[in-house]
Symmetry: C2
Subunit: 145 residues, 2 copies
């Protein structure tokens, strides 16, 4: 994955087929990129709606899409980063089932793509704290959505 | 909640309305009943289908239903328990949004109720290990589903 921004990890996860309803992995304590558990919360994003941009200063995100289809765009404006000024984009869904791990200080925005419920689970290393996040308008970072 | 089985906790969780898509709490490190993070995984359960019975010997479950509607039934066969031979049942959904925390050694089964995707997130204190769980057929514990 040479297109990944420095500090971003994409982990292919297992979906275990079951005729009563599938089981899908999310995150284990022993997983390579796991550090600590702080909080898990869900975010819905409606079709064609964009949430972002947001940059966390302390939180590492573990993003999963168990239902629907969500496009994530990441942007690196860390001047000391190997991937300075680079974007990374990916659409996550059950069909493209990965865990997207995002280190602090990377800009994140995401857009609902699916017709039904577009559901994101974030398993973060710290609890929600508005003081450690910076928001900017979607137009402030130029990206062709 | 006098109907609860001993070792079972039901926690009302916040849904934060947002016109772009709601945010729903799941679990925080500082929550009263939180002990440890071991693994998070999703389970789907199709409409009118029952998964269970299963009894974990070490795992504490934190069960959430972000999408759809799922009926959980718990059964206590611990002879030293205050709630020996009692059942507890609850339907979880966005409309009845709780975290259901289940201590080890309580039987659990659940049934899909909703027409669409019935999605369960379990945030467990240990990683999945088939050796710490006992399964029995749904007919082996008599309950009028």
């Amino acid at each position: 994955m040479d297109c990944l921004i420095n500090g971003v990890h994409l982990t292919k996860l297992k979906i275990i087929p079951n005729e009563k309803g599938n089981v899908m992995h999310a995150l284990k304590k022993s997983d390579e990129n796991f550090t600590e558990f702080g909080e898990a919360y869900f975010t819905f994003v409606k079709k064609n709606v964009i949430k972002g941009w947001k940059k966390h200063l302390q939180m590492t995100l573990n993003l999963l899409v168990p239902n629907g289809e969500v496009k994530f765009v990441l942007f690196d404006d860390r001047s000391d980063s190997k991937t300075f000024m680079q974007f990374f984009e990916i659409i996550l869904s059950q069909q493209n089932y990965y865990r997207l791990t995002v280190s602090p200080c990377i800009w994140v925005a995401f857009k609902g793509i699916g017709n039904g419920d577009n559901l994101v689970l974030n398993i973060a290393n710290i609890e929600h704290n508005p003081d450690e996040a910076i928001n900017c308008e979607i137009s402030e970072i130029e990206y062709k959505w």
